[in-house]
């Protein structure tokens, strides 16, 4: 494996995108591809730390969070996973596949009114990923996908922010703002943008071709 953005032996690969953009499907496909190359893999998803994930779910269920506690709880979840799971795996030479990374926090926290610099500083100790694949979807497609699968969720609709009393409208405004934040980050963080409207096999083959040419070409 070549070309690394950090001091560790392994690779740090991120898939970003809004809800319903197909991230977890792609992570699963990518995992199989990497394992076929005889590398160990680790998948780590947003908000899954043993320390804090349950507390976040409970607080969300009871609508207890404000913009700052929302932000800090996710930051705690991230720090716990990074220190206890991701960095040890990177040190051991694993290919770490991350379903969302700091960019998710930047987008969500900024839309909730936090200063971008404040959020960035909160995560400034995180290692720089070796690649960030961004699954780009227009808001209309997103809306249909989410309504057709999980349905609208309070927080995914940004209802805590109070954009609109109408559930659908609130979701639309919130997700549009999130997409705008991702749009701004594309250049700053060298996102590899992939059109999320394509079939999952085509998206996978694009990810693989980047992985091959960048990390596994020798």
């Amino acid at each position: 494996m070549t070309k690394k953005n950090h001091e560790y032996q392994g690779l740090l690969i991120v898939i970003e995108g809004t809800d319903g953009s197909g991230k977890s499907t792609q992570i699963e496909l990518l995992k199989r591809y990497v394992e076929d190359l005889s590398y160990g893999t680790l998948i780590s998803e947003w908000k899954t730390s043993t320390l804090i994930a349950k507390a976040i779910d409970e607080a969300k269920d009871r609508n207890l969070l404000n913009a700052t506690t929302f932000s800090l709880l996710y930051a705690a979840d991230f720090a716990d996973r990074l220190e206890n799971t991701i960095i040890p795996a990177l040190k051991a030479g694993f290919v770490c596949l991350l379903d969302r990374y700091t960019y998710t926090a930047y987008a969500r926290d900024v839309v909730r009114g936090h200063d971008y610099e404040w959020v960035k500083k909160l995560y400034d100790y995180a290692p720089k990923p070796d690649a960030v694949f961004y699954l780009d979807l227009p808001v209309e497609t997103l809306l249909k996908r989410i309504i057709g699968t999980t349905g609208l969720d309070y927080w995914e609709s940004g209802r805590d922010i109070g954009f609109s009393k109408d559930f659908y409208k609130s979701f639309q405004i919130y997700q549009t703002k999130i997409l705008e934040e991702y749009e701004k980050m594309k250049n700053e963080y060298n996102f590899i943008t992939i059109d999320g409207n394509q079939s999952k096999d085509i998206i996978h083959s694009k990810i693989v071709s980047h992985m091959e040419s960048t990390f596994f070409n020798s």
Partner: protein, 224 residues
């Protein structure tokens, strides 16, 4: 940073700081009861006591699950929750808010644990600047004698996560001395009023009340 500029709420925020055993909780409780007896609207809030997260933090501490960074973040969650739920509404309503520990506790402890100072200060930059903060200074060995005369210091209060010493009593002294050093550095940076905690409870309370009376007087609140 809001911590460096005076707030514009009608209420008053008074904080006490210092390592365990410095007598700060006794002092602020006495002050609270006295202010109440003078019909001042007063509330009292303690470090790590928010409904949102303090149970999670306490459980994680018991199981030694916290790194310096997650320790720092969880305490920031607790503080942010109490700031929005308790402190700010009370300040808006004109109360005297008494905080037993404030952000300086985090600044001192997290720095003593080796977390980057600027990172911690940035994280807490949403905090409100108190009208007055008293720092009760006491040496770590006196603190240890007061707190742990009949028990062993707990894992995190002894800074056992820092691997400073195998013996928790020894570790406590080293770690709490680091915490005190950080407090001392903040006396000028944040205008903390340093109090010699070895003085008697009565002496300290008399002085504390004098400070509070004259500050409230400047804000147009007369206590007789």
């Amino acid at each position: 940073m809001r911590l460096l500029t005076p707030h514009e709420y009608p209420g008053t925020l008074i904080c006490v700081e210092g390592i365990d055993g410095s007598g700060k909780s006794t002092q602020i409780t006495m002050l609270r009861d006295w202010l109440k007896s003078k019909n001042v609207d007063v509330i009292h809030t303690e470090w790590n006591s928010s409904n949102l997260i303090c149970k999670t933090t306490k459980m994680a501490k018991k199981k030694n699950l916290l790194s310096p960074r997650t320790y720092s973040l969880l305490h920031a969650v607790d503080f942010a929750d109490r700031l929005e739920q308790i402190i700010k509404p009370a300040l808006k309503a004109g109360f005297v808010v008494l905080a037993d520990r404030y952000v300086y506790t985090a600044f001192a402890r997290d720095a003593a644990r080796g977390v980057d100072k600027n990172w911690v200060r940035n994280m807490y930059s949403f905090a409100i600047r108190p009208d007055m903060t008293l720092y009760f200074h006491i040496d770590a060995d006196i603190s240890l004698n007061r707190i742990c005369y009949n028990r062993t210091p707990k894992f995190y209060e002894a800074g056992m996560d820092m691997k400073l010493a195998d013996d928790p009593f020894k570790s406590y002294k080293i770690f709490q001395t680091y915490v005190n050093d950080e407090y001392l550095k903040m006396v000028d940076e944040f205008d903390l009023i340093k109090i010699d905690a070895k003085k008697s409870i009565h002496e300290k309370q008399v002085y504390f009340r004098e400070l509070v009376v004259s500050m409230l007087k400047n804000k147009g609140i007369i206590i007789d």
